[in-house]
């Protein structure tokens, strides 16, 4: 597609509910990233995929967070048993290569509110 597409744009979840956030990167982009942006903060790294391989998941805050990219294109970030502290904008980005030099293309984000 023309850009990185994320869905849904907004999600309200009750505490304890499971959620799944979808990211559709630019076609052909090898690298895919997830970031979490809490209110008033900058984006914080969650995880990185190169094709279908998850090469870095060091930023995932707990084992309730799980990400996958099974066919090396679309990715899903799943959060189990959501907590209020999970409320944030979740940004997906993709890049033709693994390095940051050429920059990422970011999606519009999914705003998750846990009530």
């Amino acid at each position: 597609g023309a850009g990185v597409s994320q869905s849904p744009r907004y999600k309200v979840a009750k505490r304890g509910q499971d959620v799944a956030l979808r990211c559709d990167p630019i076609s052909g982009h090898v690298s895919l990233f997830w970031y979490q942006q809490a209110l008033g903060q900058g984006p914080e790294f969650l995880t990185y995929f190169q094709n279908e391989a998850q090469l870095d998941k060091s930023g995932l805050p707990s084992d309730r967070f799980f990400a996958e990219r099974p066919e090396g294109s679309v990715s899903t970030l799943k959060i189990q048993r959501t907590q209020q502290e999970d409320s944030a904008v979740y940004l997906c980005a993709s890049s033709p290569s693994g390095g940051v030099f050429i920059g990422y293309t970011f999606g519009s984000g999914t705003r998750l509110t846990v009530v």
Binding site: G3, V4, S31, F33, G40, Q41, G42, P43, E44, F45, Y48, L55, D56, G59, L91, G98, G99, V100, F101, G103, Y104, T105, F106, G107, S108, G109
Partner: protein, 111 residues
């Protein structure tokens, strides 16, 4: 720990005035520094990177290793520069594929 500090949450300037958005960093290794911008209702996008020594939309940023700073400057602000600006660091122990972002500075250019 590697960190990016943007001390100003909000910076207001008049149109035509000079702008300087401050960014300081701490790192271990050789960092790459970047500025990202987010205009109202738009996505986060790369503005410039230090290694390219580029000027984009009249903005420049010089890496000062002695002061560990990478301030973003523009001699004459325009109303369309109003946006959220994030300084970001990559490299060193954080890896060359991911960023550490600052908390951002909102720039408001007043008519």
């Amino acid at each position: 720990a590697q960190r990016v500090t943007q001390p100003e949450k909000l910076l207001s300037v008049f149109k035509g005035a000079p702008v300087e958005l401050k960014c300081n960093y701490s790192y271990s290794g050789s960092p790459e520094l970047f500025w990202y911008v987010q205009y109202s209702r738009q996505r986060l996008q790369l503005l410039l990177r230090h290694i390219s020594r580029e000027s984009i939309k009249g903005f420049t940023a010089d890496l000062n290793k002695g002061e560990t700073s990478f301030h973003l400057k523009k001699p004459f602000a325009q109303e369309e520069d109003s946006a959220m600006y994030y300084c970001a660091l990559s490299g060193g122990t954080s890896g060359t594929y991911k960023y550490i972002f600052g908390t951002g500075t909102r720039l408001k250019v007043l008519a």
